[in-house]
């Protein structure tokens, strides 16, 4: 992962605090998951459901081909804060980034957050699944 990118800065943010604080940081991200843009709000069925997640999570990607950047939107219910937290990390870390930057993200994002012990590796697979889904969406678009 290239240093200095928004996602790398989020990794540093997690790694700079202790394990229990990382959990609180994840909760903080969950609260900061941006609202869906109006166009998607009533049409969740038009979004892509990430079925690897234990709670319902919907993903939509908007492409700006002139600038070659992708905008990412997520929706997840309030009773799934862990899923919301992961989604929010990826939204803050990857939305508005170039196709190239997004495709360059390794799938093992979970391991960079330092949460394996407090959350368990099993639960971290959800965030990796989300990364995989975002990459696929960009790859399909680029063709």
């Amino acid at each position: 992962m290239t240093t200095g990118t928004p996602l790398a800065r989020i990794f540093e943010e997690f790694q700079s605090v202790g394990e229990q604080q990382r959990l609180m940081l994840l909760l903080d991200y969950a609260k900061r998951l941006p609202e869906l843009p109006g166009a998607y709000r009533d049409s969740l069925q038009d979004m892509d459901e990430v079925v690897e997640c234990q709670s319902p999570l919907f993903l939509a990607t908007d492409f700006d081909d002139a600038a070659e950047v992708a905008h990412i939107y997520f929706a997840a219910p309030p009773e799934a804060p862990t899923t919301r937290g992961f989604a929010s990390i990826l939204q803050h870390g990857l939305s508005g980034q170039s196709y190239e930057a997004i495709l360059g993200v390794k799938a093992d994002v979970g391991s960079h957050l330092g949460l394996a012990r407090v959350i368990t590796p099993l639960r971290l697979r959800a965030v990796n699944a989300m990364v995989g889904r975002i990459s696929r969406s960009v790859r399909d678009h680029v063709g």
Binding site: V51, E52, C53, Q54, E79, P81, T82, T83, T120
Partner: protein, 298 residues
Amino acid sequence: MSSDQDFSHYANPGALVTTDWAAEHKDDPSVVLLESNEDVLLYETGHIPGAHKIDWHTDLNDPVTRDFIDPEQFAAFAASKGITPETTVVFYGDKSNWWAAYALWVFTLFGHADLRLIDGGRAKWVQEGRELSTEVPQPRDAQYPVPATRNDPQWRAFREDVLEAIGRTPLVDVRSPAEYSGEVTSAPGFEDKEGALRGGHIPTAVSVPWARAANEDGTFKSREELAAIYQEEAGVGDSESVIAYCRIGERSSHTWFVLKHLLGYDEVRNYDGSWTEWGNGVRLPITVGAEPGEVPAS
């Protein structure tokens, strides 16, 4: 409505409490509420005031032996939550109490006497617009003597027990129909996790997806309805013993609770190794398809 809930027809009416009861008794010195969720952060977003958090994954499992904690660890854990052997421990959680039932079942292994579930779980409390708090309570000072044993033989089935039970003891598979038949190797929504090399079920096991025991609001169905499903339809009948399993043992804890506390079967064991073990196990027979299947020729 919770005030209409009547548990007296269940085999063990004391194993369930209403949200009303929880609201009234949550501050009793003899009561400890434990919230057990699938989502590891849900408690932090707000919980029943005074309730403590229990994490089914990190608090109850020993990662080295892939087993539950031992009696010493259990005693230390219980005391850290203000629990003594006399405490009424009340569990509740998300996802229709899956993980609450799992935690309750693990407490059962250590012989804790008074264990209860809030009927309808966390969702019911929230739906009723009841108070939630983000304040983490200070546990009361408590001593918990180390239990003499973790009573695995009574409440837990291992693969050898299950192999032995095929054709002798009713087996209840509580996974989704597609997992049971073998069309998929993991639960819907759990793809890429907890998967198995083979799809199908343990020969002779009957399919009763766990959610059939629950009403739409997550409360348990009446004893009459439950008897029709498990005793009659699934053919568990009057068998003295029965074994339930799922994929990792949490959905089957929910069914274990139904069979043991609501229907009153004597010897109910949860096969917590479940399909993640059986589906991957060497020399373990399976049946593919919608029918229970025959006892394999040995």
